[in-house]
Structure formats: structure tokens, C-alpha cells
């Protein structure tokens, strides 16, 4: 079994797909870094906030100074460009992956599924021999690989397949499939768009599109894996992601997914495409008996652990037995893409234990508007700020204090309900991976039946 697996992952496949993936990924990442620079997001997200939310276990990650932050993004853009053209790849690609991980770890309110995907892809790419063909490095060495072990191809296919499939599974719930929420909310605000707007005013549109989105995410990997359906499936991928980009502010996500889905094509697709462009017959290099740089048992073990981790990580919410969209335990790193519309209102109540003196503290005292908005629906972030407020009061000589919170949230348009038990002293509550008893249970309120604005209705 193991021998057959090793044989399979070391089967030679054309390197063209990997070189093309490297080029496109590096290009997109470089553009992405320049977007941060051009749109002023560096200051907005990483420099100006006086408090940064951290991921569990990564509270030690420091925020950069203004100069470092700006320099970092210029360097990251350069590194991504190096990845793109395959220049000094063995240095540039790992540095880019580490730098990107650092950027993600600065503030948890900037978490996006597609940033997480980009991080995973950049890490896998950094480990791969993606620079061994069609690159500056290959040109400098005057030696290029023609084939790579198939394991790299399968690893990336599994990773991209996990994203789509789990994004589909995350939609297999009543809000999405029975209520058409939150798509109904989002589409109802788009009814004045040209061309498509009137369609969104049609009442069944939200539910139909919810089902279409669910079926797309859950099955697209199957269609992309089958040779006969692949071209049509990829066309649908392009249309789907263009549509999502037009309708929703989801940044680079559509571009990354359209690029990532290319891994499902045969590994020689770039040569064949290039040949079609040049109107010549495709000329793949001869298949070697053995591929250079095969996967060692250690690499195979690493890849296996990686895949198992990626398969299990998004399922961890089952251990918490709650509604993950409400309590958010198991929400991140799980490909729950666009499955909730959640807004909250948070006010902290601080009480000096020695005197009983109380303060009402608005999150805005510590956070910018975007941070506050993101925090209001995420219990672990609300807890983090409670701890920060406690430390702040103690530092100002006002401690020890109790910190409680009035945190109400609305999920997918439901009436607001307590997200956190208002009687719990959060100063004495610690975050962890266990089930959080301090998070109020999902009240299971009914979803309001929203209808889109239509020209057809009369008083």
C-alpha cells in the first residue's frame, strides 16, 4: 500500500502546470501587496490601531511600526514578483510565505478565508520545485526540469478541492438551503443593479441561487476531475467567480480561486494552450522513467499529515455541538465562505472590585470602526478585548476589576440576542480550544422572511 502510494506520488508529470501556477500565483500576490499599499490598508489595519486582536496561541506576535509595516509590504511585493518569475525562488518563496503568515497573525480581525488559502498555497509552493522550469533560476543555471513528482499536483488538487468541498458543506444547513439566507439579505440590497438587479427582486431568486451556490461548491471538484466535464466546469467556475466579484466586495478571492482551479487540468495544459495560441502542435517533453527529486518518505509523511490536518480542521466544530455560525467555535480555517450576515452591539461594564465603582466602556475607545465591527460578532475577540480592558484599568491603578459585557448579535437577520452570558466576569475567563461555557447558546430564533423590493407590489 505504502509502496504503491510512493510510486503514485513519484510518477513523473509535466512540470508545466507547476511553473504556470507559480507565475500566476506570484503575479496575483504581488498585485495583492500593491493593493494594500495603494489603498492605504497598511496604516488602516496594521499601524493605526492601538490594539490588535491575536489568534489563540499567537498573542506574542508583535505589530510592526509604521516604517516596518510599509517596508514589509514593499518587500513582500518584491518577493512575490520573484516568485512569479522564479528568481532566487528558494529564498524568495519561503520568505514570502513567512512574511504572509506574519501579516495574517498581526490582527485576527483581518482574517479572510482567501488569505488563509493564499498562505497555504504559498507554503506548498515554497516547498515545491516550482522554480525548476520557465524561470529566471532555471535560465541562470542553464538547466531545467521537464517533470516533477505527481505528488505536488495531487497535493495542490487536494488543497483546492478541500476549499470548494468544505465551502459547499458549510452551506448544507437550514439558513442557506431552506431560508436562502444570508444571500436573500445581500441580494435584496442589489435589486437596483443594472441587468441582474431585477432578477434579485424575484422572490425565489435567493433560494435558487443559494442552492446553485451549494451545488457548485459541493460538486465542482467532481466535474473538474472528470475530463469530459472539465472545460464546462471551468467555464462555470469563471462565470461564478466573476459574478461573486461583481456582486460582493470579496477582493482577490475570485481571482485566486479561478487560478487555483487550474490545477485540475492535465499537467501539460500550459504547453497545449501555448501551442494553440501559436497554432502549432503541442510538443510535450518525453516522459522520463524516473523523475528527478522524488518524494522521500519524510516528504510523503509531511504531505500526509498536512492533508489529514486540512481534512479534519474544518470539521472541528462538531466537537463543540453548537451552531458554529453563532458561537464561532470552529469558524476560522474551515472554509465557511459567505455563510453568515452577523452584526452586533457590544458594551463593556467594568467594576472595581474594591470599591464597587463601575464604568461603561465602549469598544470604540480601543478599536477602530472596522475592528469593532468584526469583533462584535466573534466571541473570542470580545473576550480578548475584555482582557485588554482589564489590563488597561489595572495599569492605570484602577484594578482589580471585573469585566462583563453586554454583547448582542443578530445572525442572518434574526432579532438580536445575547451572544455572551452578561453575568460572566470575562476578566477571569480564559480562551481555549474547549467548549466555551461563557458563550450564550444560539437562541434558535426564526429567520424573518425578507422579500426583495419589487416594482410589482401595490399598497
Amino acid at each position: 500500500m505504502l509502496a504503491r502510494l510512493r510510486e503514485a506520488v513519484n510518477r513523473p508529470v509535466d512540470v508545466a502546470w507547476l511553473a504556470a501556477f507559480r507565475f500566476l500565483f506570484g503575479l496575483i500576490m504581488s498585485v495583492s501587496m500593491f493593493r494594500f499599499i495603494a489603498y492605504g490598508w497598511i496604516d488602516q489595519f496594521f499601524v493605526k490601531p492601538t490594539f490588535h486582536f491575536k489568534y489563540w496561541g499567537f498573542a506574542w506576535v508583535p505589530a510592526p511600526s509604521h516604517t516596518v509595516a510599509h517596508a514589509l509590504f514593499w518587500v513582500m511585493a518584491l518577493l512575490a514578483a520573484c516568485v512569479c518569475v522564479g528568481a532566487w525562488f528558494r529564498v524568495a518563496a519561503p520568505l514570502f510565505a513567512v512574511g504572509f503568515a506574519y501579516i495574517q497573525l498581526i490582527d485576527a480581525t483581518t482574517y479572510l478565508n482567501h488569505y488563509y488559502l493564499a498562505l497555504l498555497l504559498s507554503a506548498l509552493l515554497a516547498l515545491s520545485p516550482a522554480h525548476r522550469a520557465w524561470s529566471v533560476d532555471a535560465w541562470r543555471r542553464k538547466r531545467a526540469l521537464t517533470h516533477v513528482p505527481a505528488g505536488w499536483l495531487w497535493l495542490l488538487r487536494v488543497q483546492v478541492g478541500i476549499v470548494y468541498t468544505y465551502a459547499g458543506l458549510a452551506k448544507a444547513q437550514s439558513d442557506w438551503l431552506l431560508e436562502g439566507q444570508p444571500l436573500r439579505i445581500w441580494l435584496s440590497s442589489l435589486t437596483t443593479l443594472p441587468v441582474l438587479g431585477p432578477l434579485f427582486a424575484w422572490d425565489p431568486a435567493a433560494l435558487l441561487m443559494s442552492w446553485a451556490g451549494f451545488l457548485f461548491d459541493a460538486t465542482i471538484v467532481v466535474w473538474m476531475s472528470w475530463r469530459r466535464t472539465r472545460p464546462f466546469a471551468y467555464a462555470i467556475i469563471i462565470v461564478f467567480h466573476i459574478l461573486t466579484r461583481v456582486l460582493f466586495p470579496i477582493g482577490m478571492f475570485p481571482v485566486i480561486m479561478v487560478l487555483s482551479a487550474l490545477v485540475f487540468f492535465p499537467p501539460s495544459w500550459p504547453r497545449e494552450l501555448w501551442a494553440r495560441v501559436r497554432r502549432r502542435a503541442s510538443s510535450s517533453p518525453p516522459m522520463p522513467a524516473m523523475v528527478d527529486r522524488t518524494w522521500s518518505p519524510a516528504v510523503l509523511a509531511f504531505a500526509s499529515v498536512f492533508v489529514v490536518f486540512q481534512l479534519l480542521m474544518p470539521l472541528r466544530h462538531w466537537l463543540y455541538r453548537g451552531n458554529v455560525l453563532w458561537d464561532e467555535q470552529g469558524m476560522r480555517f474551515s472554509w465557511r465562505v459567505m455563510v453568515r450576515e452577523k452584526n452586533g452591539s457590544v458594551t463593556y461594564l467594568v467594576k472595581q472590585t474594591s470599591t464597587g465603582r463601575q464604568w461603561e466602556v465602549s469598544p470604540g475607545r480601543y478599536l477602530n470602526r472596522i475592528q469593532e465591527n468584526e469583533m462584535a460578532g466573534q466571541p473570542d475577540l470580545i473576550l480578548q478585548l475584555a482582557h485588554h480592558i482589564e489590563r488597561d484599568f489595572v495599569a492605570r491603578g484602577l484594578g482589580p476589576v471585573q469585566v462583563k459585557v453586554e454583547a448582542l448579535a443578530s445572525l442572518n437577520g434574526r432579532p438580536a440576542a445575547y451572544l455572551i452570558d452578561p453575568n460572566v466576569n470575562l476578566a477571569q475567563t480564559h480562551d481555549g480550544i474547549a467548549k466555551a461555557a461563557w458563550i450564550a447558546p444560539d437562541p434558535h430564533l426564526p429567520v424573518p422572511r425578507l422579500r426583495a423590493i419589487s416594482a410589482a407590489r401595490a399598497p
Binding site: 439579505i185 446553485a212 465557511r336 464604568w359 472596522i370
Partner: protein, 431 residues
């Protein structure tokens, strides 16, 4: 293949049908909103738009009153809100002109009658502006906002009001110098004017350790000279308000913000969708809502991070004019104009009509009820806030509670259902 072909055919057919069915690009929906605002006679210089009751008071708002159906569309809501904001700004520009004239007259005579007239003019201008506070979008908003020019702070920078700084400038007579127009905003505008027109004491608001007390420069000003200086200072402040208020009107009209707003989703450079414009409008109501619950009520109650003293009269918004309660009521009236309709009675096209148009009539009624509670609590606050913080703090807490319930609703379910997002917020893929 057949599956996809069928899907594509259905999609195209649906699209064509939907496009033909709703041929007018802007959907029109009949909700229940209200009758046109009452008392909207055309006043000179207001572009045919004035506010019932001269921009004052609550207009007898009845949250349970039946409302008259109006045609709802997002474009109509955007236009109505823009008209309402501009109407208030124009009204304020008129009020500012009257205020300048009244204060100048007082500065010329220093007579008690002219002082009373100036104080009345300030009250009227302040009442209008407090309603305009609920429209903190566009040129009035900070420069970080879409179309923001920071003009609000040039007129009224609350809570950045420093009575000490006013006293310092009273001593150094900065108000008589050309650079006064660009001096600290916390010693100009309506906040400074209240202190100058309504405070007649001989003590200053600075700490004992401040320079004017340590060096004795305050004490060196003869007490008899203080009314003269205060009147001159007030005249300078009032005079500066006129071009500021006109600048705000100009930014909307000549500057084109009104056009940008009304062209949202069409040719607007600022608002690429009508939803973006509505997001900006919604974001503009939150600051005053926050101010009511914190700076205007919680801080005066005291024991807060801003003021440890309990109660804390120094934190009152307009303690000398004793208008702190009226300010809150007018803030709520302003909020009501945005969210329920521009008429002071909460009628006209508003966000409640939007709720109704998406099938949420109960929530629209809930919104009106929450407004009724908040306005009712503020209007009936007795004694006034200046006294209540000492004698009846529970009544102030009741106002805070009523406004807090409104806030929670706005920031949670209301916002979710109408998909109101923060303008220029981060791109996301997780919600």
C-alpha cells in the same frame, strides 16, 4: 452537459423575464411612510425647504399613529435624506446669519435686551444644528469618509469643547487677530459661543495650575472688562460661523455632493451603488447616537473615565444655556428625520419604509416604538439634565436605557436586514 444546458437556459429565460417585467431600472415600492412634511413653506434662501416648527422640538411625534402609504424606492430615500440634510444646513445657514446679527448687535451695545436676543438666536441655531448632527455624512463628516470635508467640527466640535481654552483666548484676545479663524476648534463654534453668551461669572474654567492662573493674566483682566471681551469674542465666533455654514451648503450644492449622492449607482464617482450611499447615510447616524449615550448623558452622570466626579456638571453639553436636554431631544428628532422620514412627526420616506418594503412592517413599527420611547424619555426628562444628574439620576438612566434599546436595534437586526455595511470597510469573504 444536458444538466448545465438546462440550467443555463432557465437562467437566461429567468433573467430576460425579470428584466422585462421590471423595466424601470429603479424599483418602486409602495410602503407606508407618511404624508409630505407639514409646515414646509418656502422661506427665503432655503430653496423652498424649511422645517416645521423652525427646526425645533419634536413635532408631537406619535409612534403609534397610522401612517400614510408612500412610494418607496432607494433612490427616493437617498434623495429625501439628502434634501433633508441640505434643508437643515440651509436652515442653519439662515440661523447663523441671524445669530451673527444678534451677537453683533449685542457687542455694539452690551445691553441686556440684545444679550437676550443673541441668546435666543443661539438657541434657535443650536436646535437646528443638533438635528443636523444626525446627518453626519458627506462634507460634514470627517475627511476619512466618502465626500467628507470635516466641516461639522468647524461649526460644532462637541465633545471637543474647551471652556478653558476659550478663557485663555479671552485673555490673549486671539479672537481679534486674523489667525483666529484657524485657531483651535475647541474654542470656536457653537460650543464656545454658549459659554461666551451665557456665562457671566468672573472665574475661569481652567485649572489652578494653568498658565492664565499661575501667571495671573486672568486676574489682570478687570472684571468690568470681561463682558466686553466676551461679547467681542462671541461676535468673532458668530461671524466665523456664517461662512462655515455657507461652506457646508456650498459643498452640497456648488461642490456637487448632492448630485453625487442622488446619482448613486448611476454616474456618481463617490457612490458606485445606491447601497453605498445608504451605507454612508446609516454610518452618519451612529456618531450622534453614541454621543447621546456617552458624552451627553453618561459623562454628566459622572464616575466615567472622562470624569471621575459624580455627578459631573462640567461634562454637560450646554450647562450655561441649560439646553442639554433640548440638545438630546433635537438629536433624536434629527435621527428620526433620517430613519423615519424628514417630517418632524416621523413621516415622509425613511428607513422604516424600506423595512416595510422588504416585508418587515413589524420591525418598522418596532423602530417607531423605540423612537417613541427614546424621544418620550428625553422630552419628559424632569428636571432638566442640568439638575437631573444631581437630583434624579435615575431619570437620566432611563433616557440612556431607551436610547440604548434603539441603538442595539439599529446596530444588529435593522442593520443586518437592510445589509447596511460600513462605508469603505474591509473586503471580506467570510460574511
Amino acid at each position: 452537459m444536458k444538466k448545465y444546458g438546462l440550467f443555463a437556459l432557465i437562467s437566461i429565460a429567468t433573467l430576460v423575464w425579470a428584466c422585462e417585467k421590471n423595466s424601470p431600472r429603479e424599483p418602486v415600492f409602495t410602503g407606508t411612510g407618511g404624508t409630505p412634511a407639514t409646515g414646509m413653506g418656502a422661506a427665503p434662501g432655503t430653496g423652498g425647504f424649511t422645517f416645521d416648527g423652525g427646526g425645533l422640538g419634536d413635532g408631537g411625534f406619535d409612534p403609534d399613529a397610522p401612517v400614510t402609504p408612500v412610494q418607496f424606492s432607494k433612490a427616493a430615500l437617498i434623495k429625501a435624506t439628502g434634501d433633508c440634510a441640505l434643508g437643515l444646513y440651509k436652515q442653519f445657514a439662515l440661523d447663523a446669519g441671524r445669530l451673527q446679527a444678534a451677537v453683533a448687535a449685542y457687542a455694539a451695545t452690551l445691553s441686556p435686551e440684545d444679550l437676550a436676543a443673541a441668546q435666543t438666536a443661539w438657541r434657535l441655531a443650536m436646535a437646528t444644528w443638533q438635528q443636523a448632527e444626525a446627518f453626519l455624512f458627506g462634507p460634514a463628516a470627517g475627511s476619512a469618509e466618502l465626500g467628507g470635508q470635516g466641516l461639522r467640527d468647524q461649526i460644532y466640535a462637541f465633545p471637543s469643547v474647551s471652556r478653558c481654552q476659550v478663557d485663555i483666548q479671552l485673555v490673549n484676545q486671539l479672537y481679534a487677530k486674523p489667525e483666529f479663524g484657524n485657531s483651535f476648534i475647541n474654542a470656536r463654534g457653537l460650543g464656545a459661543l454658549e459659554y461666551l453668551l451665557f456665562y457671566a461669572g468672573t472665574t475661569n474654567a481652567c485649572a489652578v495650575s494653568s498658565e492664565i492662573n499661575v501667571k495671573g493674566t486672568w486676574a489682570a483682566v478687570p472684571a468690568a472688562e470681561l463682558p466686553r471681551r466676551r461679547a467681542d469674542y462671541a461676535a468673532a465666533v458668530a461671524a466665523a460661523l456664517v461662512p462655515r455654514s455657507q461652506a457646508l451648503v456650498n459643498a452640497w450644492e456648488g461642490g456637487g455632493f448632492k448630485n453625487q449622492l442622488e446619482a448613486a449607482g448611476k454616474s456618481s464617482q463617490l457612490f458606485t451603488t445606491d447601497q453605498a450611499a445608504l451605507n454612508a447615510i446609516f454610518a452618519g447616524v451612529l456618531p450622534v447616537d453614541h454621543a447621546i449615550r456617552h458624552e451627553k448623558t453618561l459623562d454628566p452622570l459622572g464616575g466615567t473615565e472622562n470624569c471621575a466626579q459624580t455627578p459631573c456638571p462640567g461634562a454637560l453639553e450646554s450647562p450655561y444655556a441649560r439646553e442639554s436636554t433640548a440638545n438630546i431631544v433635537n438629536n433624536l428628532v434629527g435621527l428620526k428625520r433620517v430613519l423615519l422620514g424628514c417630517d418632524a412627526n416621523g413621516e415622509g420616506i425613511g428607513f422604516d419604509d424600506w423595512l416595510i418594503s422588504v416585508g418587515q412592517a413589524d420591525l418598522a413599527q418596532q423602530l417607531r416604538g423605540l423612537f417613541g420611547n427614546a424621544v418620550g424619555a428625553a422630552t419628559t426628562l424632569a428636571p432638566p439634565l442640568e439638575d437631573a444628574i444631581t437630583t434624579a439620576p435615575g431619570n437620566v438612566v432611563a433616557v440612556r436605557t431607551a436610547v440604548g434599546a434603539l441603538t442595539t436595534f439599529l446596530k444588529t437586526q435593522f442593520r443586518s436586514l437592510l445589509n447596511l455595511d460600513l462605508p469603505m470597510s474591509v473586503e471580506g469573504d467570510n460574511d
